[in-house]
């Protein structure tokens, strides 16, 4: 154990600690087979009820949570309840918390931008110190985090929850500030970009024309978003009566017949696109845009470049780890996640493979799948439980299966609720519901119920 100080050793690991860990595990254990999406499976009520009343573990350990997005807040909220006397520090410079799963609804005119914007302070758990500076670097040997303001903060245990970096810079000519003008859209860059994307879509749907949608080959947060954009754009055009005048082209940088990492979902999407007359191009990576001329340049793996005109272009940026992680020793040193600089965690325990007092949660993790709020919902309780284990001097007890959920919006009023694990196996929370079945219920869930779940998750209740 690299931890500089663990104030209470294994001798203190008794019933009370077990109850704390059980509480933290929450949805992480798969003891029940049914549930709502984002729920996964969970503990029996009796265990949960016991856990809710369990006394916190006494410790003077200093736990730093780097980042205050969905993962950082969900873990910090649970840790604040799990410990008595611990010093918990959250480091993040942003003061606004954005409900990112709602960007798609903003970008298609279904939600106002204000609905995805909240005050971060409202979710910061009581008793937690909030350092309002961006994380600039990590020194895991010295057990130290550096901030953008030049501070260094020592830790005993670290939870990395920095999120990822949207690498628009890899696309020549791309300017995030230009989103919304000249038919340029991108839902990922933030609430303003999502609203600007809606402005571009709203203008485009009245005329129709050449719509070009893109998909990079890097790991993506909410990998369903490029697909949802395509489906909803098609729906908006049909409702506006301009679909017949529109060429809808989807450029995927992935291999032939691949737009999504889960084969059965991928096939279902492609079958629907064929019926909707969405034209697909593969091994076609967006490398440059010229918003003034409305021309996008795509490159093949061999380097062959093709210019494509657009009336509406949806840009999905390549994604990688934030600089602070990528440039530190916490990043994968080799293997498929090294190129993106992703956090080197064990996919089952989410504990760092070389620094056992470091854990990862959320988008930053270098794991096969899972960069969604649903992943955080399922993994945050496990990470918090493993921090408790680490403080108590135990090995991590729980296993994360890579659960991810993606409400795949097909049109206004209908969606598919796909849930899957690391292996790409479908893991429906409700086994009697076909995840590939189009459903109004899934639509209602996405539009009205996921945000309340998300808020409860941030507060460490689910």
């Amino acid at each position: 154990m690299n931890a500089r100080s663990t104030t209470r050793g294994p001798h203190s690991a008794g019933r009370r600690e077990w109850l704390v860990r059980a509480a933290l595990a929450g949805a992480g254990l798969r003891l029940a087979g049914v549930g709502l999406p984002l729920a996964g499976a969970g503990l029996p009520l009796a265990v949960r009820a016991s856990a809710a009343t369990a006394a916190p573990m006494r410790t003077k350990a200093h736990i730093v949570v780097a980042g205050s997005g969905a993962g950082g807040l969900a873990v910090a909220s649970r840790l604040a309840k799990a410990f008595d006397g611990a010093r918990i520090t959250v480091i993040d410079g942003k003061t606004e918390h954005n409900y990112q799963p709602g960007y798609m609804l903003v970008a298609t005119g279904l939600w106002p931008m204000a609905k995805v914007r909240r005050d971060n302070a409202a979710f910061m758990p009581a008793g937690v110190e909030w350092v309002r500076e961006a994380v600039a670097g990590f020194d895991p040997h010295a057990q130290r985090v550096e901030t953008a303001g030049g501070r260094t903060i020592d830790y005993d245990f670290l939870v990395v929850a920095t999120g990822l970096h949207l690498d628009y810079a890899q696309i020549e000519g791309m300017d995030v500030a230009a989103i919304g003008r000249n038919g340029l859209g991108s839902v990922y860059a933030g609430p303003q970009a999502a609203a600007a994307t809606w402005a571009a879509i709203d203008a485009f749907r009245s005329t129709g024309g050449d719509a070009v949608l893109t998909l990079p080959s890097t790991p993506l947060k909410c990998a369903g978003a490029p697909l949802k954009t395509t489906f909803l754009l098609d729906d908006l055009l049909r409702r506006a009566g301009t679909r017949g005048r529109t060429q809808l082209q989807f450029h995927s940088a992935l291999p032939t017949d691949t737009v999504f990492g889960v084969p059965v979902v991928n096939d279902a999407v492609l079958a629907r696109w064929k019926a909707l007359d969405v034209q697909t191009h593969y091994l076609s990576r967006l490398v440059a845009v010229d918003p003034g001329a409305r021309r996008a340049t795509f490159a093949s793996p061999e380097g062959e470049r093709t210019e494509v005109p657009w009336d509406f272009l949806h840009v999905v940026p390549p994604m990688r780890a934030v600089d602070a992680v990528r440039d530190s020793e916490l990043a994968w040193q080799d293997g498929p996640f090294a190129a993106g600089g992703w956090l080197e965690v064990d996919p089952a325990t989410l504990q760092h493979r070389r620094f056992p007092n470091v854990f990862g949660v959320g988008d930053i993790n270098g794991t096969p799948r899972g960069k969604t709020a649903a992943t955080v919902k399922k993994s945050a309780p496990i990470v918090a439980a493993h921090v408790v284990d680490a403080v108590a001097g135990r090995e991590p007890q729980l296993r994360f299966d890579g659960y991810t959920s993606c409400p795949l919006l097909l049109r206004e009023g209908s969606a598919m609720l796909v849930e899957f694990d690391y292996e790409g196996r479908l893991t429906p929370s409700m086994p009697f519901v076909d995840p590939l079945q189009e459903s109004w219920a899934a639509w209602v869930m996405e539009r009205y119920m996921l945000e309340p779940m998300y808020l409860a998750m941030l507060r460490g209740r689910i």
Binding site: G26, A27, A32, V34, G35, L36, L38, A39, G40, A41, G42, L43, P44, L45, R48, L110, R411, E412, G413, S414, S429, M430, V433, D434, Q437, E438, S439, W440, A441, W443, V444, R447, Y448, M449, E451, P452, M453, L455, A456, R461, I462
Partner: protein, 125 residues
Amino acid sequence: MSELWMAVNVVWETLVEHAGWVLAYVLAVVLALFLARRGHWRRGWRPAWVLAGLAALAALVLLPGLTGAAWSDLAYFVDWFLLLALSVALGAAVLVLAWPLAAWLRRPRAPTASGISAARLRQLR
């Protein structure tokens, strides 16, 4: 059971999110209960049920459209189950408000000098 806990949290967060409307509804129910303290609860039962039933029926018909969906989007048994559940929930909410109101509206009239209500007097004549 975690699903039950999840559902409780979803309902709670939804109520908090719409605290203004929830408070208005709760105040309306409290006011109705206050008015109905001398109401005729048994007489109010039937009209309250009729009103709740109409509300549930309206929800059944209107909810898909209000969520941006077409009837054809309800293509799975889960959709119909959800629609029924939401409609029943709305009907129940209306019933909770309508019953005391109906009981109040159908309260016994003020007694006359003889100590018998005017309505009863009319019956006796």
